[in-house]
């Protein structure tokens, strides 16, 4: 560790620019535009405005869009979806309650398993590593991913499409741990608690639960590794629950306690929050809200464009490579189709490497402008649609669903480029 050299001039410049920067920050003026040289420390950690939205660099993270800074909610920049696996440094972050864990001594940390079991357990990180390791690729998607695109708009964390990521998770199957503790007859529900805590005594702790049959599925993991490295503290160091195919609200970060219940767990976060209408694809009418609500569960099928860059310029007869990702709640992607004529005809795309049914599946296709398509250009823009179908035969709806919570958006996505002579 090299000590930072500080001289008087540097100190004066720094103290001046810190004041100047904070006063200019929210007026949307970029300091680089003023020609001020930023020092390295600040450039790495200080907030920057992009398109009038704050972008902040948290420790071990690339600069990310700040949906909220306290508790942190950070969105993955779109370019990172060009890889099948989302790097840990760019993996989105979503916490509900401050305070979040900011200091974890891995030597003293223990995972407690108790409740309706034969023998309560307290496992250290080393204990968890004694069990056979299971590796699995799975998409982690926030229930409210794409909430800011709902119409009419709904309140809540205003995510774009970047509240999702795919990672190779490694850890112990939850079933192994539950079997070690020994589930007693009559148990039906399992609840999970992390190290985060509410700021007031009255704020309900963030605890989620899964029915026992789901919790005992072999793919449900207590993961201590993500893409071959320990989880970043913002993504749930030292271990987090991985529930492949389910929305990320169940993937409790910094997992600290697992309790087996005889009755259905009825905590706030299961019965009052994260509820969807009990209708087809969680759709409801803004004017006639659904009366029957159920906890959110499995993910629906989605697909996105990642290439080319949106609104990129392409030449009239250039061969354009289109690519993107598709995923669903665990049945796997059967096909991905694109349409260049707003849904009248669909063209099959080529699917990339299969990392398992819970992972992102890459799709790609080639497209060339032709006489036929020239007629369809609007303001010289070519627009494509992408639609995925899963192995259960479910496909994305042409019109996006709506519900009051802003959950489970999965409509067909469109993407445009500019065609120039």
């Amino acid at each position: 560790m090299q000590a930072k050299r500080i001289d008087r001039r540097h100190w004066l410049r720094q103290s001046f620019t810190v004041g100047l920067r904070s006063s200019l920050l929210y007026s949307g003026i970029s300091l680089s535009a003023l020609g001020c040289k930023r020092d390295r420390q600040r450039q790495e950690n200080g907030p920057v405005m992009l398109d009038n939205e704050p972008v902040l660099r948290f420790p071990d993270k690339v600069p990310m869009r700040v949906v909220n800074d306290r508790p942190p909610c950070l969105e993955t920049p779109w370019r990172y979806y060009r890889d099948d696996f989302t790097p840990n440094e760019a993996f989105y972050v979503r916490w509900h309650l401050q305070s979040i864990p900011t200091r974890i001594d891995s030597a003293n940390w223990r995972l407690k398993i108790g409740g309706h079991v034969q023998k309560s357990l307290e496992l250290s990180l080393a204990d968890l590593r004694q069990f056979e390791v299971v590796q699995l690729a799975a998409v982690n998607q926030c229930s409210g991913n794409s909430r800011s695109l709902f119409g009419p708009r709904v309140t809540g964390a205003q995510w774009g499409n970047g509240a999702m990521g795919n990672a190779m998770w490694a850890g112990v199957p939850l079933k192994t741990l539950l079997d070690k503790a020994g589930i007693r007859a009559g148990a039906i529900d399992v609840s999970f608690d992390g190290l985060d805590q509410g700021p007031l005594a009255s704020v309900p702790d963030f605890v989620k639960s899964l029915p026992l049959d789901i919790a005992r599925r072999p793919e449900v993991l207590v993961a201590y590794e993500m893409n071959g490295a320990p989880l970043p503290i913002l993504n749930g160091f030292p271990v987090r629950l991985v529930v492949p195919g389910y929305y990320a609200t169940y993937w409790i970060k910094s997992l600290s306690q697992i309790i087996v219940h005889e009755q259905t767990y009825t905590g706030y976060w299961m019965t009052k929050a994260y509820l969807i209408p009990a209708t087809n694809n969680a759709n409801e009418n803004p004017d006639r809200l659904s009366k029957s609500m159920i906890p959110i569960h499995q993910m629906n099928v989605r697909s996105f464009f990642t290439m080319p860059e949106e609104l990129q310029q392409v030449r009239k007869n250039q061969l354009v490579k289109l690519a993107g990702i598709a995923f669903d709640g665990g049945s796997g992607i059967a096909k991905v189709e694109i349409s260049a004529d707003r849904g009248k005809s669909w063209q099959q795309t080529e699917l990339g490497k299969n990392h398992g049914n819970y992972s992102f599946r890459r799709w790609s296709a080639l497209w060339q402008n032709s006489e036929e398509f020239t007629k369809l250009l609007e303001n010289n823009k070519a627009t494509w649609l992408v639609k995925a179908t899963n192995n259960k035969g479910e496909e994305q709806p042409m019109e996006s669903i709506w519900n009051r919570g802003g959950y489970m958006r999965n409509g067909v996505e469109s993407w445009s480029v500019e065609v120039v002579g």
């Binding site: 560790m1 904070s22 929210y26 007026s27 949307g28 950690n45 200080g46 907030p47 009038n52 704050p54 902040l56 660099r57 948290f58 420790p59 700040v66 949906v67 909220n68 800074d69 306290r70 508790p71 309650l97 401050q98 979040i100 864990p101 900011t102 200091r103 974890i104 001594d105 891995s106 030597a107 250290s124 990180l125 080393a126 590593r129 800011s148 708009r153 709904v154 309140t155 964390a157 205003q158 509410g198 700021p199 007031l200 005594a201 009255s202 704020v203 309900p204 590794e225 071959g228 490295a229 320990p230 503290i233 913002l234 160091f237 030292p238 706030y268 009052k272 929050a273």
Partner: protein
């Protein structure tokens, strides 16, 4: 009798041994001492940064050598110490929370908003909400904080907070329109 020393011209002063001798020795001794001190300092610093067993540097070494995953081959040499090393190699993981607080625009009941809302979340969450929300929507949001999260807000204060939230929304809409 007073013994007058003869007054010498400047050039003679410089050339005489009595003036030149101590001056030269001061320079030589100073240089000698400085060299000695810097050699001692250099050697001791080198030792400190190269020492394998300096515990105060362990954490940085481990972080910088990226053996965080606990999968380094040298960890498997001795199975008895393996567990300890794996635990130790992960060490204390801590998060430096970056500073980021949005200066709030002036408005009626700003203080009530500051007192009750920012306890739990950053103003960024409020700044980020959709534009042009109706006052009923804001009322619902504030009431949810009371009913669901137990915020200590009276009925009067709920109304005052909604007043400020609407002012904040006007400010944001203005900013979105006018700031490039």
């Amino acid at each position: 009798m007073q013994n007058h020393t003869p007054i010498l011209p400047e050039t003679a002063k410089e050339n005489s041994d009595s003036y030149r001798y101590p001056h030269r020795m001061v320079i030589v001794y100073t240089l000698f001492l400085l060299m000695g001190a810097s050699i001692i300092a250099w050697v001791s610093l080198q030792n400190r940064y190269n020492r394998e067993d300096d515990e105060s540097l362990d954490y940085f070494k481990e972080v910088s050598s990226k053996n965080l995953s606990g999968r380094d081959p040298h960890l498997d040499k001795n199975s008895e110490t393996k567990t300890n090393l794996k635990e130790k190699s992960l060490g204390v993981v801590s998060l430096y929370y970056p500073w980021f607080e949005i200066p709030l625009p002036p408005g009626e009941h700003k203080q009530v908003f500051q007192n009750h809302c920012l306890v739990c979340h950053s103003p960024q969450l409020v700044f980020n909400q959709p534009p042009h929300l109706k006052s009923e929507v804001w009322k619902g949001v504030v009431h949810k904080m009371v009913a669901n999260y137990g915020a200590n807000i009276s009925a009067l204060e709920e109304e005052q907070i909604v007043t400020y939230l609407l002012a904040l929304q006007l400010f944001r809409d203005y900013q979105a329109k006018n700031v490039p």
